[in-house]
Subunit: 148 residues, 2 copies
């Protein structure tokens, strides 16, 4: 709403990326709502749904929905933790494992899209800016949580 | 998933901003899902739901949900377009009008949060980077839509 709204730009870029990711993943039976979960399970096989939710910082309901979809599409499966019956452990199926390099390629393509027409120096500066903004946003959320 | 994923950073900043905005707007009965609609209606009073959906690039279902919530909370009201009975025109209520400067303040604060510890030159560079990425993302979406 202001002429130089950083938040508006971040939101605008995010929304356009969602459209691109949905377009890229729809042929695989996935959407923008699931790939982050799949990628994170790949990096932390055996993670519980609760840990996954905390790690990605997405609420339990959305996490449960994404997990259900990934299970239905046969990308992941659950095992009960032998030490704690209440805990589900999440693992990639063979289909899930085969899909990970494809997903990585799609996500690398997102970086390629965002850095179109930027030379190396501009890319460096853009990435540093994103890191600074990320740190600032994380700090602001931490402050909110301290107060609550 | 890559060490230098621009998309991951944009998504991370976006998610943290949602938490901050929800925290800021919850006392007003609003959440991160509605403020963009309210702000856009303020800038385009009399806009139809369909035009609003197209302008913000958010699907009709999400738009309908946000409009319903804004109506329930008495921030906006609908009028039937006298020239076309099928079209609803959206306007701000008095409560909505009074809220706009508060909303603007909250959104300006988001920019302030994101640019913490940046000097003028860094802010300039960060904003230019965001603009470049936004243009790149918009172009990529346009290409997808051409093909479809």
């Amino acid at each position: 709403m202001t002429q130089r709204s950083f938040g508006k730009h971040v939101t605008g870029i995010y929304r356009h990326l969602q459209i691109i990711i949905n377009h890229d993943l729809n042929p695989y039976g996935l959407g923008s709502g699931q790939y982050t979960f799949l990628g994170t399970i790949a990096e932390h096989e055996g993670i519980s749904q609760k840990e996954l939710s905390a790690l990605i910082q997405i609420d339990k309901t959305t996490t449960a929905k994404a997990i259900k979809k990934l299970e239905e599409e046969d990308y992941i499966y659950r095992l009960h933790d032998p030490n704690d019956k209440r805990v589900n452990q999440l693992f990639l199926t063979e289909k899930g494992q085969e899909f990970i390099p494809i997903l990585r390629g799609k996500l690398q393509n997102i970086t390629k899209i965002l850095t179109t027409n930027m030379d190396k120096a501009q890319q460096e500066v853009a990435f540093e800016s994103l890191q600074l903004m990320m740190n600032n946003a994380v700090d602001a959320v931490a402050k909110i949580r301290e107060k609550d």
